[in-house]
Symmetry: C3
Subunit: 135 residues, 3 copies
């Protein structure tokens, strides 16, 4: 089964999509299999991270923003704004596809794991994931 | 087929799990397919790296420890110890799921590739991977 | 179905393999499924990145070369040349396997996404990917 998740993001940050993916798994009726989430963009990422303390996600974002700075004199690809090239680099350092086993009809996530769409651009926009669920 | 690997880790470091995954592939009886290893934690990672010279893995760890330092004044998520926030960041920069083709009943790894569970926390603990093997 | 892609690389850099993967998908005859590309090496990576402006890929490479420098006094694994240890680190920070849904018989890539083999070594060489396409 192939489904789609479309996410409206208000700008840079982590947006939880666990419930959206879980819904597709449930709808598939598959009890045991594999769920693959694939992001169709090159300036955002998919991330599995702690869904408990929001401070952990905040620190993660701040840390990566410091590592991959805007306005780095190294950049030559600058026409699409100061947040564009850092977004491509952040996407390369993180994941664009995630595969999660399905067990007893549910995503086999750990207790503290949530699935996030990590938007790296500052602007409001719509991002699309294609989700494959197979046995 | 879905299996599980539970790994007792003595603390920070790379722990090879290639033989454990290979055993599950063999037990599945699948000759041609895909093996997906998924880690149910957010402060450890899965890694495929050189299984020859241990110095390469040692350098990799030292390098990442320097990049993602403990006690960074940027961190606000600090209640779980100085190694907790760096562990989440390291996990975000590496992989939580790995998909490896199965060919002739065996993992199609390259000659020098081994599968590692990369523990980022300092403390002793138990980590769990869910392994999916399909056709 | 399992196929193979062998890529002759002239040295460090991003080499597009989208058409090679797409060809295998077409040959498989699968209309809806999942395509997994797995790289059998530990000093190169797989990357999905923007296939439009080559400046974005150039900046990405320069940025990573600066982050993971050659001749870092931290390295002890140095017998295979100054570009070897940085290559292992770059491979750990990026991806060794990529899973892309197949829809209507084609890779469900976004408009601006291309699949690249990212060679981290300086020397000319041959790299091998194993490709699994399932339903």
């Amino acid at each position: 089964m192939i489904g789609e998740i479309s996410v409206d993001v208000p700008g840079q940050g982590l947006h939880e999509i666990t419930a959206r993916v879980a819904e597709l798994v449930q709808r598939s009726g598959i009890r045991e299999g594999l769920c693959t989430v694939f992001l169709q963009h090159t300036s955002a990422s998919l991330l599995i991270q702690e869904n408990a303390d929001p401070a952990a996600r905040h620190d993660l974002e701040c840390w990566l923003n410091r590592l991959v700075a805007e306005n780095d004199p190294l950049y030559t690809h600058t026409q699409e704004g100061p947040d564009d090239m850092p977004s491509h680099i952040k996407a390369a350092l993180t994941a664009v596809s995630l595969a999660i086993p399905v067990r007893d009809g549910r995503l086999a996530l750990g207790t503290w794991q949530g699935i996030y769409l990590w938007e790296h651009r500052r602007q409001r926009g719509r991002r699309r994931c294609v989700v494959h669920i197979g046995t």
